[in-house]
Amino acid sequence: MNMPIVFIHGVNARQGETYTRNVAQRKIWSHDIILQQLAREYPTWKSTDIIESYWGDFGVQFKWNLESLPHTELFEMMGTADVDGESADLLDFLFAESINELSDTTFTSLSKLSSFNEHSGYLIDAAHNNLILFLEAIFLPLFLAKHPSGDIKQTPEKEGLFQARLGMAIYNVATNSDIQNHIIGLADKELLDYLKDQILQQLIDQETTTPITPGIEILGPRSSGHSFDKINKTIESLIQFPTRFANNALLYKFRANLHKNIARFLGDILVYLNQRSDQEPYGPITSTVLNSIDTATKLYPDEKLIIVTHSLGGIILYDILTYYKPDLVVDAWISTGGQIGQFEEMKLFKASNPELKSPQKIALPPNIRRWLNIYNPLDVLSFITQPIFTGCIRDQKYVAGSSLFAAHMEYFQGPALYKIIYEYLIKEEVLR
């Protein structure tokens, strides 16, 4: 038994180092968390082909390279390395929001946060409350903020591979019940040191069991490679300057890209809507995605078809399944960070019926056998679907702490999402 999974990306995806890295990362996590586990459940299952449907070349292009973006004081302020005064207060506030979300603690004043130190116990509260979210929220984004594999610049594929490995290591640590029990009662510094050691050991174990360079022998002990120093420094900095460090790392990523990403988000959607056509080939974006799906169904004509979409990818697919190719059967559709519900509210789909409105619901067409819509409450661009649609559909909440700043673009930046997808496929018995 084989199975194709088509991945349709969303807004802001463009060929380049980030895209290459993300594809490499997605491949590893899909394989390790979804595919290997499925193989254990279904002995006849052999492999899965992940087909990346890339349409970014037809997305919005800015003829002045976004020269129209204003240089505001806010963005400059948020990105500076040394912060003080109001900027520091803002950073403290943002970090407090993250910890609040994770630890069920409410900081009543910024002065309390300013005294945050290794003895304060806020981190252990957050970790004990939900170790998975704590690690994916606090650790993973810090490690991935710059070059995750250390000071040595790697190829995007290797960066992606390493990010996936690091994510898996963090995920394995977070879901280990022994580790969860062990952290009870630790001070914050002890917690960070302990988690650091566990993550590094996980990296070494992974390298031992499934080497990052398969088909090659390494004439020395398996190691976490150049990541050791990076992880060590990150943890040390986190222990010494938790608020400043955490927020600077996140804001560094955030500041540089937020405004540009918003412009691209709007631009991609407008370009898609503008180019969408009733005449074949239906516009470049639609036809590109259709070609990818055709490839999957031709390569695996008798197999289940699973499609994963992100953001605008879901809108494109919904148009295809309800208007352009209503005879295409999708056995499972997993949408992430999608705006399908919002678009239906605005009646922007080709098949939208303006007469249907609340309290009525849209019946899912029969060619969509199952639909899991994953949203992040911190992602202001993600919407739920169950109030609008009826049928075999489920909205699934997915909280990623790193998403405080970059929620919309980081659904696939942690292993927990892949675990949700795997559990959904098993629970719904998609492969039976």
């Binding site: 070494i204 360079t213 090659i216 022998e217 390494i218 004439l219 020395g220």
Partner: protein
């Protein structure tokens, strides 16, 4: 092989010592450890034993063809092969190699090598290795059990050989990475297996130390095949590490200098062409050549041991039609067909040739510009020469 029986106790694969009591000889110690089953974080190696055996076989072949600079006197072979990858050949040689066995063999090898000042010593070790404190490096044997101070200190072996014999070759085919487990602890210094000799007393006249990886880097191998360094070394011994003999221009020779140069050149070429998913920059190789002034062409091997060699054109213009006329030392002319590179080869016996390129026409002016950074590079068995075609010159190539 010249010696049909292998003595596991002495590890002697080739023993011609009795015939060379008063004259210089070549003394080799070749080690391949793949059976690591006692230590955590150390994977068994399926390539180490094959690599060691291949190097030993090559040396004995060279000896049988009288290609070694001095006759082969002894060749010791220590192989501890990973059982599941052992074939019938390796099983003849494989035995557990612990510290005691290794120490005894090294001491015997050093004693033989130091018996005559003009001897040549050769050590090749394939197996796991780690970086010790400072820049010291170490080898790990099959009985290694995660006590890092039990790692065998490489510098101790090199120092143990001291300044005699005058000609020494070392190939350490291991990683030189610092284990994660040691980063928070005091660095180990490793184990000395022979009495250390003060630093100032151990520099021989000619010594080449080749490490398969630079400090802090891993070394790589093909499972069930050869290590990367093994392939590089074998290619060099097949002629790619050769140079014109400065004493006899009609002959090629592998010298300390040419071997050092050839290893580095070939490493770069193979790192680019190996079908491994490793960035070529991650494949490192480090050599340390020490020699007395003006003696850098001291021979290691005689004329490269090749009966036929392909006359190669490297990195030639891929759209260039060429015919190469080659004149050997007897003024006999050989010509290649006029053909587009790279489907071009001509078997030649070792020797010095004069050559010229004709009918060098570029297929497309446009393509010529695209490829203008790739000059013609013609390589007889070992020596590289750079040529440019007339058309290329017209294009004002750099």
């Amino acid at each position: 092989m010249n010696t049909p029986t292998f003595n596991k106790q002495t590890a002697l694969l080739y023993d011609n010592k009795a015939d060379h009591t008063k004259q210089a000889g070549f003394h080799a110690l070749i080690v391949g450890i793949g059976n690591y089953q006692s230590a955590q974080n150390l994977q068994p190696l399926t390539s180490a034993a094959f690599s060691a055996h291949a190097i030993a076989q090559k040396l004995i072949d060279l000896a049988n063809e009288n290609q070694l600079q001095v006759p082969l006197a002894t060749c010791r072979l220590l192989i501890d092969a990973f059982p599941s990858s052992m074939d019938t050949i390796l099983s003849q040689y494989s035995q557990p190699i612990n510290k005691s066995v290794f120490q005894d063999t090294v001491i015997s090898w050093i004693a033989d090598a130091r018996a005559h000042a003009d001897n040549m010593s050769f050590l090749y070790f394939a197996g796991h290795g780690i970086q010790l404190s400072g820049n010291d490096r170490s080898l790990l044997l099959g009985d290694f059990k995660n006590t890092w101070n039990d790692a065998i200190n490489i510098q101790n072996i090199v120092r143990g050989m001291s300044r005699e014999p005058r000609y020494q070759l070392y190939f350490f085919d291991t990683c030189h990475i610092f284990p994660d487990q040691l980063r928070n602890n005091q660095s180990p210094v490793g184990t000395n297996i022979i009495d250390d000799i003060p630093l100032q007393e151990y520099t021989p006249d000619f010594r080449l130390i080749v490490n398969a990886s630079a400090s802090g880097h891993p070394a790589f191998a093909q499972p069930e095949g050869h290590t990367f360094l093994c392939d590089v070394l074998l290619n060099c011994l097949n002629g790619e590490g050769a140079d014109i003999d400065t004493n006899d221009e009609d002959h090629w020779v592998i010298s300390f200098l040419s071997l050092d140069h050839g290893l580095k050149q070939l490493k770069n070429t193979l790192a680019r062409t190996k079908p491994w998913q490793i960035h070529e920059d991650d494949i490192t190789l480090e050599t340390q050549l020490s020699s007395t002034p003006n003696n850098s062409t001291i021979r290691v091997f005689q004329t490269p041991p090749i009966t036929h060699h392909i006359f190669k054109i490297h990195e030639s213009h891929p759209t260039t039609n060429i015919r190469v006329d080659i004149q050997d030392s007897n003024r006999k002319r050989h010509s290649t067909p006029t053909i587009i590179y790279p489907s071009f080869s001509l078997p030649l016996t070792p020797g010095v040739y004069r050559y010229s390129v004709h009918n060098c026409t570029v297929v497309s002016e446009k393509k010529c510009r695209i490829k203008q950074r790739k000059p013609l590079l013609i390589m007889p068995p070992a020596k590289c020469h750079q040529l440019r075609c007339e058309e290329c010159l017209k294009c004002k190539r750099p």
